[in-house]
């Protein structure tokens, strides 16, 4: 959730009750927490066998590495652009797939819509799906349906649903009931209540969440080719493993430009939504 919170969008979840942060916690809790945190860092450091002198001597090698990237080899530009387009296609279709799945699972996971015996298991299911790394899913899908973009699309759709359905459920739970009751009082049908009462309240959240997930899908799809699930990841792997750094440079520039372009487009749409 931290990624989403950091978007710092004024939450439209006014209907949702503020989460109880306690206040009953004893005063020594922060101290114990700091101790635990320190222990965690020390354990990570000592267990990783870090030799600082290797870091000190790395400067020359990095400079050498960067030097070999220049100038970028533009002859691979057509190949890189075509495989970037494939990555974009994977992200678009994968997002489409996870939207369809989330439209079903989101309402099922919504606490204000679905009884507890149903929404709890669905929430657990989504948490489990979120817990499986995309690359692992992609490898399983490659095993199931073979190489190419199809396993990539399936993997993205599956993996992203874990988060998007949860967001959809939160959007549904954030809907204020009072206006819907008012429409009921005015004689609105069930579909009218959905269309004029519930939808206007959650549509901006749904669209924003979907765009956000699309952006994540795109970035995560970049490496899918490493396991044979299509897109530009294949060339990332090939060029790096065969030390063709000038081609890696071209590829990096294209990927960066590509991601920035999509983020700008998303930002524009989000501003239109407010």
């Amino acid at each position: 959730m931290s990624t989403r919170d950091s978007l710092a969008i004024p939450a439209a979840k006014t209907g949702a009750p503020p989460r109880d942060r306690g206040g009953r916690s004893p005063s020594y809790a922060p101290f114990l927490l700091s101790l635990a945190l320190a222990a965690l860092i020390i354990w990570s450091w000592t267990g990783s066998d870090i030799e600082l002198d290797r870091l000190a001597s790395s400067g020359g090698r990095i400079a050498d590495f960067l030097g070999r990237m220049l100038p970028p080899d533009l002859s691979v530009l057509p190949v890189v652009l075509e495989s970037s387009a494939e990555t974009l296609r994977i992200a678009v279709l994968g997002t489409f797939g996870c939207v369809v799945l989330s439209l079903v699972l989101g309402p099922l996971a919504a606490e204000t819509l679905t009884p507890r015996w149903l929404h709890r298991p669905v929430q657990w299911l989504l948490a489990t799906v979120r817990g499986i790394p995309l690359l692992l899913v992609a490898m399983l899908m490659v095993g199931a349906v073979g190489l190419g973009p199809l396993p990539g699309i399936l993997a993205v759709a599956f993996h992203a649903t874990g988060m998007l359905a949860k967001f959809y459920a939160e959007a549904i739970d954030g809907v204020d009931r009072a206006p819907i009751e008012a429409l009921d009082s005015a004689g609105a049908s069930f579909l009218q209540k959905l269309r004029f009462g519930a939808w206007p309240q959650m549509a901006p959240d749904i669209v924003r969440d979907t765009l956000f997930r699309f952006e994540m899908n795109l970035r995560e799809s970049l490496i899918l080719g490493v396991v044979g699930a299509g897109g530009i990841g294949f060339y990332i792997q090939v060029y790096v493993r065969t030390f063709q750094y000038q081609k890696v440079a071209t590829l990096t520039l294209v990927v960066v430009a590509f991601v920035i372009l999509i983020e700008l487009a998303n930002g524009m749409i989000r501003r239109m939504l407010r």
Binding site: P179, A182, G187
Partner: protein, 257 residues
């Protein structure tokens, strides 16, 4: 209109595991065109009664006839009937992210074509009713504004316009002024009264401020634990009656006269 707008006989209702808000009314009649204030302590049953008259209360016992239709305790009334009762909520109950015009238009949902409206298509009649309602409450100039940009008084005007757009025969207002400052409260009460009078609509408004409301109604009904404990003109409502009604609810509100 022949017959009473509201006719209740031996009506009782109780929320599950809860005494607050229960109803026990032997007999109550409200004639068409009357303007009535409903008073009583919190939990005395005011909101429950208004919800009942709006057709939103199920599982009550007894006989309730509203606008010529006998309410069924087991079923939600039809769309056509529900438009006949307009409801003004204490918390406005507007769709905050939509424009004023769309919110007023929402009042037409019971009258308009159920499928075409889903595509955003409303009839000329609908648009005329919306214009008239917005004119009546004086919010024409706000039509394009989003509701979340409005003040409390403006919001309650929009909510009243939504009700008027329904073309109701019975206007129910559940503590419409308790979230408003005194000046705005006066204006909203006057507005409810004038709109009801101009359109010949029966008005039933609940409030904790008898003194404020008295100028705008011809009759007071007081509830205490679901029972009607006073029913008469504002002049007949004495201080000691008010004291009795509110004795368990802490400070006594200002007297009527």
């Amino acid at each position: 209109m022949p017959g009473s707008a509201v006719a209740l006989d031996n009506l009782s209702f109780r929320y599950k595991g809860e005494d607050r808000g229960s109803l026990a009314i032997t007999q109550l009649r409200i004639e068409a065109g009357e303007k009535v204030a409903l008073i009583g302590a919190s939990g005395a049953g005011k909101s429950t009664l208004l919800r009942l008259l709006d057709g939103r209360l199920r599982a009550f016992r007894g006989h309730a006839k509203v606008l010529g239709r006998t309410l069924d305790p087991a079923r939600t009334p039809s769309r056509a009937w529900r438009c006949n009762t307009g409801f003004v909520f204490q918390e406005f109950a507007l769709v905050e992210r939509e424009s004023v015009r769309q919110n007023v238009l929402n009042g037409r949902l019971g009258r308009t074509h159920p499928w075409q409206s889903l595509l955003g298509r409303f009839s000329e009649d609908d648009h005329d009713a919306v214009e008239r309602a917005m004119g009546d409450v004086g919010i024409d100039d706000l039509a394009g504004k989003r509701v979340d940009r409005l003040s409390g008084g403006q919001r309650q005007r929009v909510a009243i316009a939504r009700c008027l757009a329904q073309d109701p025969a019975l206007l129910l207002a559940d503590e419409p002024i308790s979230n408003l400052d005194p000046v705005t409260a006066q204006a909203v009460l006057a507005l409810l009264h004038d709109c009801a009078a101009r359109r010949g609509v029966t008005l039933l408004v609940s409030s904790h401020q008898p003194r404020l409301v008295a100028r705008y109604v011809g009759r007071f009904i007081a509830l205490d634990q679901g029972h009607v404990v006073f029913d008469g003109p504002p002049e007949a409502l004495r201080d000691d009656t008010l004291t009795d009604i509110y004795e368990e609810a802490g400070p006594v509100p200002e007297p009527v006269s």
